[in-house]
Subunit: 377 residues, 2 copies
């Protein structure tokens, strides 16, 4: 490991690929003849393959969760503060796996990969997926790595939904389920925000009904708007007040439509920089996966019954400032687990930031993760 | 009055117009050589002209606040439930005036009216305004009608900001100030939502840098997105859950991007119908007026000092489910008035609906309005 990396960094890492030749039957009724998952791993798998953690990513995440893909990378993976030697998900104890979800845009089969039937990118022809589809696809990755049972499956936000689905779909394939900043299902308001984001992308003439790859363009404006809107829901009102308040970029009003308030500058920057690293069709797909998630639905809207057959120990964590998936939504999960007579620990972290808090190294939060992980066999 | 109107309706009403030939100096540094205000009135002005109420409209409102402009109108004005014989703003006692704000799109000088200097619609050349500019322009309307002092100035949301500004700018020209569902200034989050709405409009290729009139088109998609987003902030999470929940339009998921959830259908309908009745440049302007409002700014961010010279009696009303301008924001106004030693009554109405509650006939809310108005001389 080059000296440029901190001692608690996993250092240089490389994306790996698994192509599964089995046909994957999907909830939408369609199937994929085969599929590829891009993934990264950190740490060493032990002899009895019992020390593996699966990290599930959220809407705009990917397989690069820790370390650096190149010595020139300015930033490490998206959850680097949690993964590495001595960190909550300690690579000196655990073998950590994070795939790019199916439908993603960082190497897994998805809208921006080639449809073998046409020789062109799937685009809008890539099937819409569910969290259950993801879990099944991740199961193949576990098989390939020889992991019969994860020590823990871990995820925040949409990642937390995958954790719940793992516990439901494969009760014996995980010992612990860490469900962070999640919800048992989206509210109408959550869906509404997703719908505005989708319409923003559809409205962009450069979207070309999802076939923008063939037009050598991207729906820059639409994806930018979607991301700007997303960012509002990732931060609390208080955090935005703290961070930007009503600060003016030039110290005075200009009575025009260029940036006047700092918060406008922040949002435009976030929107623009996202466009260069994310695929619009994947964004659309991810919002639909979110909307569809509702594990209680097939149990007559009875969430405890959805958890009835699970065997994992649960840790549920929420953040006080999170208005996207409020602590109340996490408490619904906890209550359902209690009613279902499951082992569950719950921590509500005092954090002003908002939904994004789950990605930040808040001492109380990392303390909870450390304490929980220390007790995992 | 035709028999088709209810006895408590103001019945058929007609928009009137006032053209002020004085130059209006604006906060942005520019001026209008003359300007027109479209307005409606209901009830009769008494002999000493002491029974006049001014209604100030919000972002997407206009002068048509009560009654019908035609016997064929399917809906009455936007606050018809509050205005008419026997209603909270009782036209058998009061003479009620409501102008379309300067910069509006329903007959007052604004982006969609002709710029005398070019002979074409102002479009983006119409100056950006402040709430103070509006109050000054409304002062001319009061002068024209011979109203030296309003019995009350009344408004909700952005309308409530105009009420505060009236009390500050013309301390002796109103006896009562009814500030409903308002805020002393927008938060960074409020500004952020406005900014996404603006960028949605700017991103629409049919916007043509605001000169879409000359291209015989309108930025339909952009304005639709802005309105969809607005609607999310007008309703509470609870109200949306109550109204739509996760109901599916066709009772099942279709795994596609057509409407699946009812809330999507609602938002698309709201967005599309708005486009036919509102001007995109006016929408942009209104969001800026909102962003700029901050009466404490010129008093060293001291809100009580901003109210120091006011003479009106205040009634401040907020709604528990309003997350756009929360009750906490109304309490800031109340506290500042108390500190400034002003007369203020405050009612926090238990209402799940959200920001839009101020437009609905909630019995407790109308009870408060009735009680307050009954005591107005």
């Amino acid at each position: 490991m080059p000296e440029t990396f901190a001692p608690d960094s996993v250092g240089l890492v490389e994306t790996q690929y698994l192509t599964v030749k089995n046909s994957l039957q999907l909830d939408c009724g369609r199937s994929l003849a085969d599929f590829t998952l891009a993934y990264e791993t950190y740490g060493e798998l032990n002899a009895d393959k019992s020390n593996a953690l699966l990290i599930c990513h959220a809407l705009s995440g990917d397989q690069h969760v820790a370390g650096y893909n190149s010595v020139d990378d300015r930033k490490p993976g998206w959850w680097d503060n949690c993964i590495g030697p001595g960190k909550p998900f300690d690579t000196s104890r655990f073998f950590i796996v994070c795939p790019n979800n199916l439908g993603g845009c960082k190497g897994s089969s998805g809208p921006n990969t080639i449809n073998p039937e046409t020789g062109k990118p799937y685009g809008p022809d890539f099937p819409l997926l569910t969290v259950h589809d993801w879990v099944i696809s991740q199961g193949y990755l576990a098989d390939e790595l020889g992991i019969q049972q994860w020590a823990a499956v871990i995820g925040g936000s949409l990642g937390g939904m995958q954790v719940m689905q793992w516990a439901i779909d494969y009760p014996d394939r995980l010992r612990h389920a860490l469900v962070i900043a999640a919800t048992p299902k989206l509210t109408a308001q959550n869906i509404a925000f997703n719908e505005v984001a989708r319409q923003a992308i559809f409205s962009d003439p450069d979207f070309h009904a999802g076939r923008f790859y063939e037009h050598n363009t991207i729906p820059r404006q639409g994806l930018m708007l979607a991301r700007m809107l997303g960012h509002i829901t990732y931060l609390s009102d208080d955090a935005m007040r703290e961070k930007f308040g009503r600060d003016l970029r030039e110290g005075k009003l200009n009575f025009g439509f260029d940036v006047e308030f700092q918060v406008e500058s922040y949002l435009r920057y976030q929107g623009k920089s996202f466009v260069d690293r994310f695929d619009a069709n994947t964004y659309l797909l991810m919002t639909k996966v979110l909307d569809y998630f509702d594990p209680a639905l097939q149990f007559n809207n009875n969430l405890p019954r959805a958890f009835d057959d699970t065997n994992a120990n649960f840790l549920v964590i929420s953040f006080t400032g999170d208005w996207r998936f409020t602590p109340a939504r996490s408490r619904e999960i906890v209550r359902a687990l209690v009613v279902a007579d499951k082992k569950v620990s719950y921590a509500e972290i005092d954090a002003e930031l908002g939904h994004d808090a789950f990605l930040t190294p808040i001492p109380e939060y990392h303390g909870v993760l450390n304490a929980y992980m220390d007790n995992i066999e």
